[in-house]
Amino acid sequence: MIINKNNMEKHTENVSHVHRDDEGDKMGMWLFIFTELLLFGMLFLIYAVYRYQNPLAFQLGGQELDVFIGTFNTVILLISSATVAMSITAIQRGNKKMALGFLSITMIIAVVFLVNKYFEWGAKIEYGFYPGSELLHELGHGTTLFFGLYYVMSGIHALHILIGIGLFIYVFMQIRKEKIHSTDYVWLENTGLYWHLVDLIWIFLFPLFYLIH
């Protein structure tokens, strides 16, 4: 492969003893993303079948969710995807300060997303919509399935947000220490890819749970 040859030449030129394969790193990240897509794909499949079997319960379940908070989280998550993309542009142009700035905005948004989730879940639980609750038992099988999927799917998604924050903190430190810079930024790029994946999943979760009813 031509790319590898170029990389090899580069290695021997200046950073002879450090082994680097950015293309390989990126390929690995994409393979991981495919497994993530299939993980969530399986959950979407379960959702589709249960919705097909319990159309009314899923319709009523969707009406219980707050469209405003869902839309708000969608908007800020999209903005955070743009800011992480911009931080990559900044690092590619060698603008460390700007990269850190955009990364900080992304992290703040990620935290805000989780805080919203906390209040959203809190309100639902207080109202009696939680796994194994008396209310869900009364409302029947379909509603139980809807809220079960709601907690599992948005819960796994929220876990991804949490992991994303961890990755951002690591990358932030590495940029500060100049370990990530204009010629070596694959860590930032892959973290960005991961974050876009989190956004991608939410793009489908949002209409399925909040909008359709």
Partner: protein, 94 residues
């Protein structure tokens, strides 16, 4: 990193992509407020599909990367749709 391998997206392009995504979000919220029955689901999923394609193409850089990533990604989505199809084929005729 050689130039031809690494396309650097401009800040402006990211902002344009962001506004396109926000507009599509607004459209899907507006459309699903109308009472159209099952049509709502179809429209919402088409809009989500467009948004996903935009995120994959621009933010995730598939448009500018080696084509193999785009092909693999498409294959994953096709696989998912096939599994969805087969599953529903099964459930519909039980």
């Amino acid at each position: 990193m050689n130039q031809e391998k690494h396309h650097i997206s401009s800040y402006t392009s990211h902002v344009i992509v962001l506004f396109a995504l926000l507009a599509l979000t607004a459209a899907s919220v507006a459309v699903t407020q109308l009472e159209m029955g099952n049509f709502n689901i179809i429209v919402a999923m088409i809009l989500a599909g467009i948004k996903a394609t935009i995120v994959l193409s621009w933010f995730m850089h598939l448009r500018f990367d080696n084509k193999i990533y785009a092909i693999f990604t498409a294959a994953v989505f096709v696989l998912f749709l096939l599994v969805l199809f087969v599953t529903f084929f099964d459930y519909s005729y039980r």
